[in-house]
Symmetry: C2
């Protein structure tokens, strides 16, 4: 079968279906609500959100496929010395589809998770894949983090032994809150422009990319099972609120997907579904000495080898 | 007396003192806590935060004066076609001092307020003033908003009849959450590069700028007095949480002061003191028809004439 945007996008919609179904079982209470939307400049999406479940407090599993005039900022990086504006009549066309997930659980011992797989194509024939999965535990449990990274490494190693170290490093660099000098969580894998920059065999890359998407549900449902019945205190909830604040900071200040969405006049409610139901900030909060919060804070670093 | 950076900065520290004192009286319970900090690259500040008062839940009245190599992004705007990087040895020096205030009250009927007055100087002799006051009520009370804008207009009119319309418009444009297509609140006044762009008489501009700073305390304490004893419900608190979410979005995505702070390696806790103790996001929240929330939502527009 030919590989083209249509069947890649169909596959993505299937992935969205299977993930939603797995998450509904794992939650055991709430169901996803679906909204279909269209984008004035071309394309649209199928947003699915879950709210006030037994496990998941707020989250989304979103599919979108948008196209039209490629936004100026896509060219800025490569065209130093010019204004970066292309002539409207000759403006290059883009097509981008993907599935994006962010889940914020109720229990502070269940981690926040993020997954994204995206396909991008320009009308000059260039096309690439991007994606990744990363974990932001409110409390870092070493065993769970090892499990998480080991599972991602297995997905990578199946396709290319260079992928895990490379994409794990990329996640460490990407999910970094520069102004806080801390990582968003324990990282994971992140890759972009696969094909353009890493390996020119699109078909092989596509197989890897699909495996990343498929790895998400089993990994996260296992982490839910392990932690959903843990008891928690008000102090644990308070710390969760502060960690969610950092999560919101990363997404609003640094996240390229959010930026892309805002700059391409994306559907704002779908883009910002990544934000938690509640978040908090406290002036100069410092965790107590030898507390579990301090232990987590100390592990928010790049370059930790978890496998 | 000569006007120089030293006596402008001393005046700013006095302003910080008098505002903190007025706010402590208005709050009646909590006191500001002070922290002095230094910036590695030059300068420092005096951060004052208030937490869990009778009226004020979280806020800061911060003074800072920083200097050193001017950050690259200051030149980018004017140097199209170059990389914007200056040679380190000949790098221009800057000096910037100011007072910044954000206050988040407990009662949803007391508005959030923001004020900033800033002085900026380059070693080539260029210097300018910037500042403004703007109000973000969780519930817009027309009478209070008229009072607020009328007070700002009086400050402006005393100095230049063109200032209020010009700077009111500027605030409408500046405090706009583009991706939400709504203003952050009811605006106020905003101005920048006063001297450079508007009026070359630095002494006269300085007098106006000082009056803006001095107007803050009486205006806000009046708004506190008017609203602090109003009863509120859980639904009012919920709406407050969502409005605070929008406030956080604006500050993290658009605010130039925040950006400047992050890009000049400013003191992060002082910069982000503007964020509320708690904030919230709900997927696709739409206020009930004919509710006070809907009434407020409908007034989050540019260009309303409040005087």
């Amino acid at each position: 079968m030919e590989i083209n945007r249509e069947n890649i996008s169909s596959w993505l919609m299937g992935l969205q279906d299977s993930i939603c179904s797995a998450l509904e079982s794992a939650d055991g209470n709430s169901k996803f609500k679906e909204e279909n939307w269209t984008r004035e400049e071309g394309g649209g999406g199928r947003t699915r959100v879950i709210t006030d479940g037994a496990v998941l407090e707020k989250g989304g599993v979103n599919y979108s496929a948008v196209f039209g005039n490629a936004p100026d900022f896509l060219f800025r990086e490569k065209e130093h010395g010019t204004s970066g504006k292309a002539n409207t009549e000759t403006k290059p066309q883009f097509y981008a589809s993907g599935v994006s997930i962010v889940l914020h659980p109720i229990n502070p011992f269940v981690p926040i998770i993020h997954m994204n797989v995206r396909y991008f194509e320009m009308d000059n024939g260039t096309r690439w894949l991007g994606g990744g999965i990363d974990l932001s535990p409110h409390y870092i449990v070493e065993e769970d983090t090892r499990f998480f990274h080991t599972a991602l490494k297995a997905v990578c190693d199946k396709h290319n032994l260079e992928y895990y170290p490379k994409f794990k490093h990329w996640a460490d660099e990407y999910f970094y809150i520069t102004h806080r000098k801390e990582t968003r969580g324990v990282g994971g894998i992140f890759f972009d422009r696969l094909n353009d920059s890493v390996n020119m065999d699109f078909e092989k890359n596509l197989a890897f990319w699909k495996d990343v998407g498929l790895a998400f549900a089993p990994i996260y449902t296992e982490l839910i099972t392990r932690n959903k019945n843990k008891n928690y205190t008000d102090a644990n909830k308070h710390w969760q609120l502060l960690r969610r604040g950092r999560y919101a900071e990363f997404n609003l200040v640094y996240d390229k997907g959010t930026k892309f969405g805002l700059e391409t006049n994306g559907r704002i409610e779908s883009i910002l579904m990544s934000l938690p139901k509640t978040a908090g900030w406290e002036y100069n909060f410092v965790p107590e000495k030898n507390s579990p919060e301090e232990a987590t804070q100390k592990l928010l670093l790049k370059g930790i080898n978890w496998v």
